[in-house]
Structures are given as C-alpha cells and as structure tokens.
C-alpha cells in the first residue's frame, strides 16, 4: 500500500469520470493556488471539506481514503519539521499558535494530495493522453506517454519472470552487505533493459507498418468536447478562487484558538 495507489486510475464510472480532464486539471490547480494563498488553519480546513462532496460523487471514497492514509507518514513529517523549525528559529507568539501553524502547513499538503488524487483517480491514461493532445502537446509525446502506461503491467510481469529465472540460478537478493545487495540487482536490470530495447524495436516496426508519419495532421477516433458539467466545474472553481481572494484581502481570519476562546 503506497501513496501512489491513490493516484492510479480506477475504471469505475461516475459523473466526475466523464468530465473533461483539462477541466479537472484546472480545478486541481486552482485548489493548489488557494491552498498556497492561506497559511491559516481554518480556511484550509474549509478547503479540505469543500472537496469531499466531489470525492463522494466520483465514487472513489475507498481509494481516496487509502491515499490519505498512506500520505499520513509524510503529513507527520511535515508537521514535525514545521513545529521544530519554528521552535528553533523563535519569534512565535505562543505554543498554540505554533501548533496551529504546523497543523495548517500539514493540511495544505493534504489538500494538495486530495485535489490531485481526485484528478488522477478519475482520469484514465487514455483520456489524459487525449487531453494532452488536444491541448497542443505534440503527438509524439502524447503517444510516448500512453504507450508507456500501456506497457507498465507488461514490464512489471516481465521483471517478476526475470527475477524468478535468476532466483532459480541461486540468486539471493537479501544476501550480503549493502554493496553486494545493490549488485544483486544487476542480473535483473540488464535483461529488463535489453528486453526494453528489443521491445522498442518491435514496436517501431509495428508503428511503421501502420503508416506512422503518413500525414502531418493525424485524425483521432475520439474527441474531447466540453459539456454542461465541465462548464459548471470551471464556474465553481473560479467562484471559489474569487471568494478566496476576497477573503484573503479583506477578511481577517481568526485562528482556531481564538475561536475556542470566544466560545469558552
């Protein structure tokens, strides 16, 4: 279970999955900007909760929770570093301020993971490649991207087979000191690399055999069109940005402790 699990595309279907990837990306970037804007705990908390309905609509709660849990370790590190750095540099008004500040920085990281994980979990690599293409990225690069993604499971399987083959010849990865352990990976890496080169050659042959390079402007079987929902999301994101900037400029945000003391 790694943090990366929270970024791998899931083939379920939901309104969010159908959204144009470019729009989702703009949304994630706007969330990022807002998160940078604020250093206080409360606005960031609001930002965190505001996105939950989207996660729920996308029906990816389970996977999303997984990525949140997995990034917990980083969150703790960020929290600790913030606490310690402010503590040692001094100039902090009070312990509660210190605590809240560190929590806010941690939350900023979490909000970042939250919004981009939402993007990646609901966008298939195919969709992503298409979005890149329609955004003007040269086709060569888009093709390289989708082909790479397509071969990831193939390479993973091959790596396992190579490992099995070398283990069957007495390779023990765990044995030996640190240097020896690194060297143990050579019998696995070299066949993988050689195979990757051979594979590239075969792929190139296949590409040529299917008229690669025949025409300057390729057509595409699929096309991304902006729909009602896409415009809605853009509108919502821009609105949030607007509100956030207004708040940042004109409204002094109370700290969490201040809120607590008011109610006390």
């Amino acid at each position: 279970m790694s943090m990366f699990d929270g970024f791998r595309f899931r083939g379920t279907s939901s309104p969010i999955h159908q959204l144009d990837p470019r729009v989702k990306f703009i949304y994630a970037c706007i969330m990022f900007v807002i998160a940078i804007l604020f250093s206080q705990f409360i606005p960031l908390l609001v930002l965190f909760f505001v996105q939950i309905p989207l996660v729920w609509t996308a029906r990816i709660m389970k996977e999303w929770m997984r990525s949140m849990r997995a990034s917990a370790m980083f969150a703790v590190i960020i929290f600790a570093t913030n606490m310690l750095s402010y503590y040692f540099y001094g100039g902090y008004p009070s312990l509660s301020w210190l605590f809240e500040r560190a929590a806010a920085m941690t939350l900023r990281f979490i909000v970042l993971i939250e919004s981009f994980s939402l993007f990646f979990l609901t966008t298939s690599p195919d969709h992503l490649g298409l979005a890149l293409e329609q955004s003007g990225v040269p086709y060569d690069i888009c093709f390289a991207f989708t082909t790479a993604v397509r071969f990831v499971p193939v390479l993973a399987e091959e790596a396992q087979t190579i490992l099995d083959a070398q283990k069957s010849r007495g390779l023990e990865l765990e044995k030996g000191n640190f240097v020896k352990r690194i060297k143990n990976y050579i019998p696995v890496l070299i066949p993988l690399i050689v195979s990757a080169i051979r594979r590239s050659l075969e792929l190139a042959e296949a590409m040529e055999s299917r008229a690669w390079g025949a025409v300057e402007k390729r057509t595409n079987l699929y096309v991304l069109t902006m729909k009602k929902d896409d415009y809605l999301l853009i509108l919502a994101s821009v609105l949030m940005l607007g509100i956030s900037v207004y708040v940042w400029l004109f409204i002094p945000v109370p700290s969490f402790t201040q809120l607590l003391s008011i109610s006390a």
Binding site: P153, E205, S209, A211, K217, T219, Y222
Partner: protein
C-alpha cells in the same frame, strides 16, 4: 485456387521479385540472395524454412521495412501492388501490404482494442466517421466485437493476434503478410488464427503470405509452399509436391505426418494414389488402398 495455365503476366502478380538480394548494414553475408518469386492476387502462400533462412527478412521487404527502416543494401527488383518498394515510403507501402508480427504483445500500443485497431487509419488522416465504420467492420470480421473496450494486456495471445490482424485489415491492404503469428499460441489458438486468415483470403480475396513452421496445420489452406534455405528459395510449388520432395527431406522442414506416412508406406512398396497433406486426405487415400487391395 491455382495459378492460371497461361503466363499470368505482371497484371496478375501482386508481388514480384527479381534476383532480389539484401544485406543488413552490419551483415557480413546477404540475408537472402537471388530471390525471384511471383505471387498472384488471391493466393495463399506459406513461406517456410529453417531458422535464419531469410524468410523473416524477405517479409519485411514487402512493406518496405527493408530497406527503408533497416538500411542496408538491396539489389534486384521488388514490386508490390505495382509499386517499386525502393521508390515508395513505408507509410504508402503499408497500405498495400500489411504486416502482422510474431509477438502479439509488441504490436499493440493503445489502451483499448478499438483505439488500437483505429491507429493505422488515424495515422492516415482518415475522417472520424470513416474510421469508426472501418473499425466496426474489421472487429466484426475478426470476431472480436465483444473485446472492443478491453485493454490489450487483459487479452489472451490469440485474442491479441486477432486485434493485430484487425488493425492491419482496417487499412484494406491487398496483401497481408504474417510472420509466424502463432509461435506463442497454443494449438487451438493457432487453429483459430489460421481460420481467420483463411476467411480473409477466401471471403475477401486478400492475398496471404504466411511464414510458418507449423506446416501440419497451415498447409491445408495453402495454394503454394515456398521453402527457403540459407538465403535462397529452394522449393516453390504445390504443398503435395514440396512435402514429398527429396530437398524437403534434406533441408529438414517439418512435413506433415500424413505425408511422412505416405513416404514410409511407399518405401515399403505400398503406393498410395495421391500424396496426402492433411490427416483427412491420408485417411481417404489409405482407405482407397485397402479397397483396391481387397478387390
């Protein structure tokens, strides 16, 4: 379907080579030399021979990978669908001679079958509507419509090869060349592929050149067998004649057991009426021998 009696002439020959010799850039000796063959429109030709005989390189000559992609020195003449291979780019030749490769996995790029089959047409800049139409048609002919949205990695080897065939078929070439397409498939998977290829040949009139070692399964569909050895064409004729020849025995190609049985019986004085190539023919011709014997 056999070639016509009178000289076919260049109009009927969809592929023609004359004294064709090719050496790879790093090659010491030619991969093949002095190859002169003619393949007529609609023929089903099986190309075979021991490893290293040059058949794989010859295949790549038919859509221009040799010499345009590989470089090297190509001497002699080769014409495909009226186009001289040396004078036309691969993307043009690929529309007349489609090439299906041995490894199913390494010729599928996209993340869905539909997108993969469309790939060639996208490269040609064909309109979206036309692409959709042709993709539907190709998926239907190869019997993989239900796999339309699947990812290539989830498919079996046989299914992957059918996707590869569909993705070539979609460009509507006159010739389809297949380089040992069943190497990685089990017997039933191989049979299915041969059946698909045969349908393309019999129903759509596509000329087929099939490089194979599995002669027992492939030869029943073949109009002609061409055998290469050490870079040269050594046999070129009807399956019956090729399999029963002395050269075939000397070179060491996997002639069908049916033909082998015929030869063993002949060596012991029992002459059957015909040279069988399939088990079906063998049963028939042996039965005839018994009936004849009893009468």
């Amino acid at each position: 379907m056999s070639p016509s009696e009178d000289d076919g002439g260049p109009e009927l020959a969809i592929i023609k080579t004359e004294n064709l010799t090719y050496t790879y850039p790093i090659g010491v000796k030619p991969a093949f030399e002095d190859v002169s063959i003619e393949i007529e429109k609609g023929e089903f030709v099986v190309l075979t021979g021991p490893s290293g005989c040059g058949k794989t390189t010859l295949c790549r000559c038919l859509n221009g990978l040799v010499p345009h992609f590989y470089g090297g020195k190509l001497e002699g003449e080769v014409t495909v669908a009226g186009l001289r291979v040396t004078e036309h780019p691969i993307y043009e030749l690929a529309q007349h001679a489609g090439l299906v490769f041995q490894n199913p996995e390494n010729q599928l790029f996209a993340l869905s079958v539909e997108k993969d089959v469309a790939f060639g047409l996208e490269n040609l800049g064909i309109s979206r509507e036309e692409i959709q139409r042709r993709v539907n048609w190709a998926l239907q002919i190869t019997g993989i419509e239900d796999l339309r949205n699947r990812a290539p990695h989830e498919l079996s080897g046989g299914q992957q090869q059918r996707v590869a065939i569909a993705s070539i078929l979609v460009m509507q070439p006159e010739v389809i060349v297949l380089d040992e397409p069943t190497s990685f498939l089990d017997p039933l998977g191989a049979q299915k592929i041969f059946q698909v290829i045969d349908e393309l040949n019999k129903d759509l009139g596509i000329t087929v050149i099939l490089v194979e070692h599995r002669l027992d399964m492939a030869s029943r569909y073949a109009d002609r067998i061409i055998v290469m050895n050490k870079g040269r064409v050594v046999l070129n004729g009807k399956p019956r004649e090729v399999f029963d020849s002395e050269e075939a025995r000397l070179i060491g190609i996997g002639i069908p057991k049916a033909t082998r049985l015929y030869q063993l019986l002949k060596a012991n004085g029992v002459n059957l009426n015909r040279v069988p190539v399939t088990f079906h023919e063998a049963s028939h011709v042996i039965k005839e021998a018994f009936i004849h014997d009893r009468s």
